[in-house]
């Protein structure tokens, strides 16, 4: 970010470069269009621009049902991610530290939530809850979300652990720290960026989740994605555009923070 302009800003024209620009357009035009029409001053949704207005944002703020859904979503995400942060980090530490019979099976199972389609996990969880006669509520959503939250957090923390100097913990132990002190004072500070970025990822996945929530919510809770899904299924509504803009902006900020943390972690590693 110096004051001197870069020497050469002009790029040679290549078809790959041109296509990349088109791809960026493909990725961002739908989002931009969505955003622009959230400010359209129209009674219902049309593609005709009728002037700038914040009315749809105001409508959003008065929508008690939507605000309640947002509250449910945030509660689920915060509780699930909070518990998973501890459990997932412990799991990553355990997998790095110990070898035991069945370890690869354990590791394989821990990757499953990342790969198995949501619908299969959602169905299985519902069947399990039904067969145990556990009533569906906001807590069953949290329990189900914890599965993928802890898996993602463990993956992110594991990759950071692999990059760490294995002698770090031993040095602390040699210098007289007990295992808990070595963990809290030496390992945890090193792992913190990874834990936070894993949590951010898990948080975003949790607030976006439609399927697993749909199958585990019952009548007890109504998280935002379920509410949005039921509204947009029947077509386009400008207040949903306004909501989308707010949600996309907030997840964009979370993403930027996480990428920044990852970038910092990578540069400090080298």
């Amino acid at each position: 970010m110096g004051l001197t302009p870069p020497k050469r800003l002009r790029l040679p024209f290549t078809w790959q470069g041109a296509l990349t620009v088109v791809m960026y357009g493909f990725m961002y035009i739908p989002i931009v269009v969505l955003g622009v029409y959230s400010f359209n001053d129209s009674n219902r949704y049309t593609s005709v621009w009728q002037g700038f207005s914040l009315r749809w944002y105001e409508a959003l703020m008065q929508d008690a049902r939507l605000l309640g859904a947002l509250q449910d979503t945030l509660f689920v995400a915060i509780v699930a991610v909070g518990i998973s942060a501890v459990v997932g980090t412990l799991m990553a530490l355990g997998l790095a530290k110990y070898s035991f019979p069945g370890k690869s099976l354990y590791q394989g199972v821990s990757y499953l939530p990342l790969i198995i389609p949501d619908i299969a996990i959602a169905v299985a969880t519902l069947v399990f809850l039904a067969s145990m006669a556990i009533p569906l509520s906001i807590w069953t959503i949290i329990a189900a979300h914890m599965v993928f939250c802890l898996a993602y957090i463990a993956v992110v923390v594991s990759s950071r652990l692999n990059g760490l100097d294995p002698n770090l913990e031993e040095a602390a132990l040699d210098l007289g720290a007990n295992p808990v002190q070595a963990l809290v004072k030496v390992l945890l500070p090193e792992l913190m960026p990874a834990i936070v970025s894993g949590c951010l990822l898990a948080f975003v996945l949790s607030i976006d989740d439609l399927l697993i929530s749909s199958f585990t919510a019952g009548g007890g809770a109504n998280p935002l994605p379920i509410e949005i899904f039921s509204r947009i299924r029947t077509g386009v509504k400008p207040d949903m555009n306004a909501l989308s803009v707010l949600l996309i902006l907030s997840s964009g900020m979370i993403a930027a923070l996480s990428e920044y943390l990852r970038y910092k972690g990578e540069t400090s590693q080298r």
């Binding site: 790959q16 459990v87 599965v147």
Partner: protein, 314 residues
């Protein structure tokens, strides 16, 4: 992997205490997550395997006992209960997944190539992050964004009309929404960033001196590409393709929001068996197992042929 002996201070004389204490560490670290994964992932999956073997299981109804009825209803044309539509749905899901994979590869490779080898170095990280950023926003909302572009009075038709007006001909308007085309556009849009990210990681590792050597030795750019670049990045290509295949095969949101009744996919069909009107849990579980099986085959291929490092980086 450091398999350090835990709790070396444990007194050796009381060997059972030592063993207990040395087991305590792993248990404390791996126990909670293991319990959770067992309770909410392994047991449930085994349960749907079990239920899938009970023909026509509906909640609260008496069952006929174990059998392969659910599977044979889907796959066996000689079964009296055989319904061809189910097989069609599975075929359509495969078609969507394969078509999405191909279009992501064709669109994603040049972009990843430019980002990894031709983009200005200092902007590279930022450009890649910008490409992946949409992944962080809800796929529900990203599909919703396409509804307003694809619907009859949407922007794509407005654009077509505008061009038609400019040229002086009336171009036919079309409802793009609720068609297979819309589903394919939506799936490609959703999964293109994965493909670009994995290909980028793979291309970034490409030894550029090989490309220069090939050019020095008189290879045409197309020859260099086919004989050097592609073989070198084949594991990355395989990884990207299989990942896109897996995720698009099981996707629910895009086919539901952008596709119509004629674009029923396996995930929508499963959803209907549980939360829809049909409520056939046995059939739904069987379809679920079919989906898991299809995905598992892709995962096995991924582990065998794919570049695991590039996937790990994403």
């Amino acid at each position: 992997m450091t398999a350090t002996e835990p709790e070396t201070q444990a007194p050796k004389s009381h060997s059972w205490v030592g063993r207990l204490r040395s087991g305590l560490g792993p248990l404390a670290l791996l126990g909670p997550s293991g319990l959770w994964l067992a309770l909410f992932l392994v047991i449930p999956t085994l349960l749907i395997l079990d239920i899938s073997l009970v023909p026509g299981l509906r909640p609260g109804e008496p069952t006929a006992g174990y059998g392969l009825g659910n599977y044979s209803q889907v796959f066996n044309p000689w079964d009296a209960n055989f319904i061809f539509v189910y097989l069609q749905v599975i075929g359509r899901s495969l078609y969507y997944a394969i078509a999405t994979t191909v279009s992501c590869l064709l669109l994603g490779f040049p972009a990843a190539y430019w980002l990894a080898l031709m983009a200005p170095k200092r902007w590279r990280n930022l450009l890649v992050v910008a490409f992946v950023l949409p992944l962080w926003t809800s796929s529900l909302l990203r599909s919703y964004a396409w509804i307003s572009l694809l619907r009859p009075s949407g922007l794509i038709n407005s654009f077509i009309n505008w061009i038609g007006d400019a040229v002086g001909v009336t171009l036919p308007n079309q409802n793009w929404l609720y068609t297979s085309t819309a589903v394919l556009i939506g799936l490609t849009y959703n999964f293109l960033p994965y493909m670009v990210l994995i290909l980028y990681a793979s291309l970034e590792k490409l030894d550029q001196s090989l490309l220069e050597a090939a050019a020095d030795l008189g290879a045409k750019p197309s020859q260099t590409f086919l004989k050097v670049t592609v073989p070198q990045t084949l594991p990355g290509i395989a990884a990207g393709c299989l990942l896109v295949f897996i995720t698009s095969m099981g996707d629910f949101v895009v086919p539901t929001l952008l596709g119509g009744a004629s674009s029923m996919t396996i995930s929508r069909l499963i959803y209907n068996q549980f939360l829809g009107i049909t409520r056939n849990w046995g059939l739904g579980s069987a379809l679920s197992m079919v989906l898991i099986l299809a995905v598992s085959i892709a995962i096995a291929l991924l582990l065998k042929y794919g570049d695991r490092d590039s996937v790990a980086e994403t």
